[in-house]
């Protein structure tokens, strides 16, 4: 008998798991994929938004601004990268400056910290690579970029440290109300629980339907991105937005948490939430728009293109509420942008809803909110490197040349709670294969280490999703 079953191992589900792990409860998180962090959380802009563009009074505005204020401490507690590098909304005409002012006023109303309207000269000081056409900008000092993967893994690892159980490859197929609460039916057996939290992202509307709720639909909308090599010539320092127009929010050019430059996303309505295809037409669009902000960007330096799908709700706001049809069911639906920054605030909001709905608040006596991240050999000082290698020689054995990732780090990524089971899982945790050769050199080594650590045959190792096996068979031995 569970107290709480959380559906979905994205950043929202994992944040909720971690927040609720402070209570003395039996909590399970079910994820249909092979690993956590394999859908919307793995492919987005990775931005900790300030919160000035959300409609005042909306749940989005509240969650964003609160979430933003939680990031500095959270990143320390959970040891993931959050770089408060600030954002600029660039205006290229006096007309656009008016929009910048509107955004500023809206931001003040939303109680956003660190907002300022600045002139072209200041813009160029902050970000010399911005186009000379710039007239001014809205500067938001509280915005930044985050490592979205390690944010999510950190939440889940910490939740598991505090007793939460994780069930991967476990897909929800039905919800049934009974006298003990809710029976959660999955392809991996049934779970009897008091509360169910729907944090199923792209599938949150379908899960809501299972509980008899039809208040919102997900409009699948995809975004195409281009990620650049870490060449010094392409490096930028901030998050650059364009002034929103009737045509949309514009394309952003941003530094990533690790110092690559990235452009995107498009915003195309698509037929299904499964469609993460990338088209050359979309890339041409982001290239053209990206150049308006930073003319020097050269697509030749691309190392990866990718596409994410937003869990866009037709209601225009996050749908976080307790079901009226099924007691004990709480929805966290339609979490599109700014969902990533809102995640920790959403988790606390869900906590309040559960308490309002009768959850007792007996504390978990063993709760520890802190988690230590995987050591990054490339970031250590000379002395620290030597010490770490002396402690364990595997940290001196470099597997990924481009990002200087050691075997020790990869082993740690696999052995941890909610550890890596796939080549991409290793990549997202420790960056092996995230660099300019994209795993061309380290791929075979990572497969070998995964097979050894997971005690499986190399033919069983996956790239990412369940059906993504890499090796066909052994050649003659």
């Amino acid at each position: 008998m569970y107290d709480i079953i959380i559906v979905g191992g994205g950043v929202i589900g994992c944040s909720i798991a971690r927040t609720l792990s402070k209570y003395d409860k039996k909590i399970g998180l079910i994820e249909k994929n092979y690993e956590i962090c394999q859908e919307t959380t793995k492919a987005n802009s990775a931005i900790v938004h300030g919160g000035y563009d959300c409609k005042p009074g909306s749940l989005k505005a509240k969650m964003n601004v609160k979430g933003n204020s939680m990031f500095p401490e959270l990143s320390k507690d959970l040891d993931f990268t959050f770089n408060k590098i600030g954002s600029l909304v660039l205006a290229f005409s006096e007309d656009e400056m008016k929009t910048v002012e509107e955004l500023y006023n809206r931001g003040i109303e939303n109680k956003v910290q660190g907002l300022e309207i600045i002139d072209a000269k200041r813009v160029k000081e902050i970000e010399p690579k911005v186009s000379d056409q710039v007239v001014g900008a809205l500067y938001c000092a509280s915005a930044g970029v985050v490592d979205p993967f390690n944010l999510t893994y950190a939440m889940m690892e910490n939740a598991m440290d505090n007793g939460v159980e994780l069930f991967t490859e476990t897909e929800l197929i039905g919800l049934e109300k009974n006298h003990d609460g809710i029976l959660v039916k999955t392809n991996n057996g049934d779970f009897q629980t008091k509360y169910v939290i729907n944090a199923a992202g792209l599938y949150s509307d379908k899960i809501a339907n299972m509980g008899g709720d039809y208040d919102f639909n997900i409009i699948p909308t995809k975004g195409v991105y281009r990620l650049f090599d870490k060449k010094k010539s392409d490096t930028i320092n901030t998050v650059l937005f364009q002034t929103p127009t009737e045509r949309g929010k514009g394309v952003l050019v941003t530094a990533t948490y690790d110092g690559n430059t990235m452009i995107g996303p498009t915003s195309d309505k698509i037929g299904t939430v499964e469609d993460t295809t990338t088209e050359s037409e979309s890339l041409a669009i982001i290239d053209k728009l990206g150049k308006l902000s930073v003319p020097d960007l050269n697509p030749k330096n691309t190392i990866r293109v990718f596409t994410g799908v937003r869990a866009k709700p037709n209601t225009g706001d996050f749908m976080i509420y307790a079901s009226k049809n099924m007691e004990g069911l709480v929805h966290c639906g339609g979490i599109e942008s700014p969902g990533l920054v809102s995640a920790p605030a959403i988790a606390e909001y869900v906590e309040e809803i559960l308490i309002e709905n009768g959850m007792d608040t007996k504390k978990n006596p063993n709760y520890n909110p802190k988690r230590k991240g995987i050591v990054r050999i490339s970031e250590l000082s000379t002395e620290e490197k030597s010490e770490k290698i002396k402690e364990n020689p595997a940290y001196g054995k470099i597997i990924c040349r481009c990002e200087t990732v050691s075997e020790g780090e990869i082993i740690e990524a696999i052995r941890r709670n909610a550890g890596a089971k796939t080549v991409d899982g290793v990549k997202r945790r420790v960056r092996a294969g995230m660099g300019r050769c994209q795993g061309g050199f380290c791929g075979p080594r990572v497969i070998e280490i995964l097979a050894r650590e997971l005690n499986i045959d190399p033919t069983e190792v996956r790239k990412d999703l369940s059906g993504s096996k890499i090796v066909e068979r052994h050649l003659k031995k």
Binding site: T278, I303, R304, P393, K397, C402, G440, S466, K469
Partner: protein, 419 residues
């Protein structure tokens, strides 16, 4: 801190040949640093034959070719360390490397950069569709098959006609896979003619020139590709689509020299080659630091790498002995003239004691050409060739006498001389 006269970064064919040559020229304190588990570099995964025709006048497999140099390294007692990755090279010629034994600081009088190259990846070509499993660079698949004993697939399409891709077409066929086709966006192959003949034609594998991959099908694992014809501007031509089912897509779309260390050390890099700019003695813009092999520019045959690396090794040895062939002498730039994409070395040392070996490639395929080497407006050498293609590097040596009294730029140009 350890100190050596010469440190060679990279234990592939370039690094090995340079070290051997330096040793033969009287340098005893030499260290080769290799990041992989064994010496020999990428040659270890090239188990096909065809290596050494120029160098040894016989046909060797890649590991055999490498072994000849590994044997010399051992016989000459040259020191090397494996599983060691150089993470930094600074302006004082100090090296920091990481290994299981810890962090190593090494000082050197002279350094040879021989780090090789890497393959261009899928991100560089941005195909339409998903990013499923089953898409590999040809070199990665080659390593998996030939060194790890793991077969990557059954039905294969190859994108790009680089040599590694062509060789993998044959290799996978021999292991029982069906190679459906090789798709090349250019009107000509980027691989050697002999590989087209021996790896594709001999096995009836079609090569689709002026074709592009329109779409990659399959989300978790690749299921197929749609290819189509392209016009001169590489734009797809409607109605020419063809579908091929496959569980494997190999990319053979070019190689890029691995110069992160070089760039971070502040050494000047050439725009076309993506490798360090070198003088005719193979010295980079950092005094006493030499370079050779694929880290300098991508070669199509290893025999040329060996030849070039000997020059680097010998000059590194001279430098250690206090003779710097470029010191105090005038340098003249080389220029890629009509029809030529680049020339290595980037500078020729006037009066250089070993002359200069010019390596270059044509911009496009030519039939019947005359290659001219000019100093200023004066033609000093001509070479008639029945054909010239970008994938085949050409070498013209200049003797010490020919560059004894340089007074102007050296230009290489190609002129078609008709049918």
């Amino acid at each position: 801190m350890l100190n050596y006269d010469l440190v060679v970064i990279g234990g592939g064919p370039a690094g090995l040949a340079a070290a051997v040559e330096a040793k033969k020229n009287g340098i005893d304190s030499i260290l080769i640093i290799e990041r992989d588990r064994e010496l020999g570099g990428i040659l270890n995964q090239c188990i096909h034959s065809g290596f050494g025709l120029h160098e040894f006048k016989e046909e060797l497999a890649g590991p055999e070719y490498a072994q000849r140099f590994i044997d010399q390294v051992n016989e000459l007692g040259i020191e090397y360390i494996l599983n060691t990755m150089v993470i930094e090279l600074n302006k004082d010629k100090e090296i920091i490397a990481l290994s299981e034994d810890g962090l190593i600081n090494i000082g050197a009088k002279s350094i040879v950069l021989a780090m090789g190259c890497r393959e261009r990846t899928a991100g560089a070509v941005a195909m339409n569709g998903y990013r499923p499993a089953g898409v590999y660079t040809a070199g990665m698949a080659q390593r998996m098959m030939n060194m790890e004993g793991l077969m990557v697939g059954k039905e294969v399409v190859i994108y790009g006609s680089g040599d590694i891709g062509l060789i993998m077409a044959r290799r996978m066929t021999l292991e029982g896979a069906k190679v459906k086709c090789v798709v090349e966006i250019s009107p000509q192959s980027s691989g050697l003619n002999r590989n087209i003949a021996q790896c594709l034609n001999d096995y009836d594998i079609p090569l689709y020139l002026s074709h592009n991959i329109n779409k990659v099908h399959g989300k978790e694992k690749i299921e197929g590709v749609t290819i189509c014809k392209v016009d001169e501007k590489w734009q797809p031509i409607k109605g020419t689509e063809q579908y091929f089912s496959c569980d494997t897509l190999l990319l053979s779309i070019g190689l890029i020299p691995e110069n992160e260390l070089t760039v971070n050390a502040g050494i000047e890099i050439g725009e076309v080659t993506n490798g360090p700019k070198v003088k005719s003695n193979m010295e980079t813009s950092m005094e006493g630091v030499f370079s050779c092999g694929n880290v300098l520019h991508v070669h199509d045959i290893v025999d040329f790498v060996t030849k070039e690396s000997r020059v680097a090794g010998k000059n590194a040895a001279d430098y250690i002995k206090g003779i710097n062939d470029s010191d105090g002498k005038k340098l003249f730039e080389t220029e890629a003239g009509n029809g030529v994409s680049y020339v290595i070395p980037n500078y020729v040392v006037s009066g250089g004691k070993d002359g200069a070996n010019l390596y270059f490639r044509s911009r496009k395929p030519y039939k019947k050409v005359e290659v001219k080497v000019l100093i200023g407006d004066k033609v000093i050498k001509t070479k008639k060739m029945p054909a010239m293609i970008p994938s085949e590097m050409v070498n013209i040596p200049l003797s010490p006498e020919e560059i004894a009294n340089l007074n102007d730029k050296i230009k290489v140009e190609v002129k078609e001389i008709g049918k």
